[in-house]
């Protein structure tokens, strides 16, 4: 059984300078309750790894806008102009990674692999400083595993063994992140007894999960642009 913690307790050991993965896509699937607790705790100089930085003051975007990140590894920052401003001013060191490469770098870390070979980025700025291998007549870049101290995952339902169901398009980077991070905190809308969650419908096996937190903030992430 996994510990069920308050959000504040769950983020207690997330200290300045840590590396943190936050799953979600444009805010869809961000762990709002955990992000809120982390902002409240005041952790700074976070090395943030995330698909994108959502919107200013929405979900993971808050970590950027409230000056809590020192570095950012992401695939897209265009919807949160603050990320770009901080990158240009030198306040935030940004590494942009192709989205599929980001997912596989994390997955490979969690899967015990030495990295992945991908054709993505060959002949572009992405290949700079990377080993290139020709396999069967085609060029591939060696992309190295990417891990983290912590990951924040949002689930709809989790059982007390940590098995989690993530609905719809909220799965995005969550599975790869749950595999890659040392301590994986799942924020769940519902925490149920073992057996109540159908083992056939598990998105993330509990084996990857360290602790559970009951979501208290609604998933009001989806924004309709005017």
């Amino acid at each position: 059984m996994k510990p069920i913690l308050t959000a504040d307790k769950a983020v207690e050991n997330i200290n300045d300078g840590c590396t943190l993965m936050v799953s979600g896509f444009m805010g869809c699937g961000n762990a709002f309750t955990l992000i809120d607790a982390l902002i409240r705790k005041g952790t700074k100089a976070i090395n943030l790894i995330t698909s994108d930085t959502a919107y200013p003051d929405v979900g993971v975007g808050r970590i950027i806008c409230q000056n809590r990140a020192a570095t950012l590894t992401a695939s897209h920052i265009g919807t949160n102009p603050v990320s770009g401003q901080k990158m240009n001013s030198g306040e935030l060191k940004v590494t942009l990674v192709p989205q599929g490469t980001l997912a596989e770098r994390m997955r490979s870390k969690g899967a015990g692999l030495g990295g992945v070979l991908t054709p993505t980025g060959v002949g572009t700025a992405v290949e700079e400083g990377k080993q290139k291998l020709n396999i069967g007549g085609k060029d591939y870049l060696l992309e190295l595993p990417l891990g983290a101290n912590f990951a924040f995952i949002k689930a709809e339902v989790a059982d007390k063994y940590g098995n989690a169901f993530l609905p719809g398009a909220t799965k995005n980077m969550a599975v790869s992140m749950a595999m890659a991070a040392d301590h994986v905190i799942v924020e769940a809308g519902q925490i149920v007894e073992p057996g109540e969650l159908d083992p056939e419908k598990i998105t993330i096996p509990g084996v990857f999960v360290s602790a559970l937190v009951k979501a208290v903030l609604p998933a009001s992430n989806v924004q309709v642009k005017p």
Binding site: H76, G100, P119, T124, A219, V222, K225
Partner: protein, 219 residues
């Protein structure tokens, strides 16, 4: 409809005709998204949304927003019957593994070797490549949908891209408001022109040399 919109609709319609029945297609944000609205009635294509599903449907109306379903632009959308959800690793395996038949996306520049620049302008626009690099490297067919010239009237189809590349040598087809151009090993082949232009005008608006097909059709 204003003339610019009409020209845009024409090129989108032309691209839609390229997509065969049953194709798995990923449409980029903006103009490419509209391609889905013009697929001929006797065909069904399946749309892939790189954030994690197939069966991408229309935008969700305000009263039907599902907080768990957004498209790759973060907008609330629907999933059609027959769709499937998956995580990013699977989604990009589908892309890189050559299981996406077509991707349609915009471009800042494209050149005679099929190189594409569409993700950044150094010092000006650095949003990140998102899934574009994977899509262009992985999709079986890459179709560029764009205006033939830029805001200042300068060609966007160049001998060599000047902006940072999204991918090298991956573009198969360039469809603009003026022309339908295929990227081949011998260079760019002009196959069709828009009904309100001439071959001469297309050549003039294109920096890269064009091979002119034996029969030029109009669209």
């Amino acid at each position: 409809m204003d003339p610019k919109e009409l020209k845009r609709e024409r090129l989108i319609k032309r691209i839609a005709q390229e997509l065969p029945d049953g194709a798995l297609v990923n449409l980029g944000i903006g103009m490419p998204t509209m391609v889905g609205n013009y697929v001929p009635a006797d065909r069904t294509i399946l749309l892939h949304s790189e954030n994690g599903f197939t069966g991408l449907g229309p935008a969700a109306s305000k009263d039907k927003i599902n907080q768990s379903i957004v498209n790759a632009g973060g907008q609330p959308v629907t999933i059609l019957p027959g769709g499937a959800f998956f995580d990013s690793a699977m989604s990009f395996a589908i892309i890189r593994g050559g299981h996406v038949d077509y991707t349609v996306l915009g471009a800042l520049e494209v050149d005679m070797e099929g190189n594409l620049a569409n993700y950044m302008i150094p010092g000006k626009m650095v949003p990140g490549m998102g899934g574009a690099m994977d899509l262009v490297a992985g999709a079986r067919n890459v179709i560029v949908a764009m205006e033939h010239v830029n805001k200042n009237g300068a060609p966007k189809i160049l001998k060599k891209c000047s902006l940072p590349l999204t991918a090298k040598g991956e573009v198969d087809l360039i469809v603009t408001d003026m022309a339908f151009i295929r990227v081949t090993k011998k260079g760019l082949v002009l196959e069709e022109i828009a009904e309100d232009t001439t071959v001469e005008e297309v050549v003039k608006a294109t920096e890269a040399p064009l091979h002119i097909a034996g029969t030029i059709r109009k669209f």
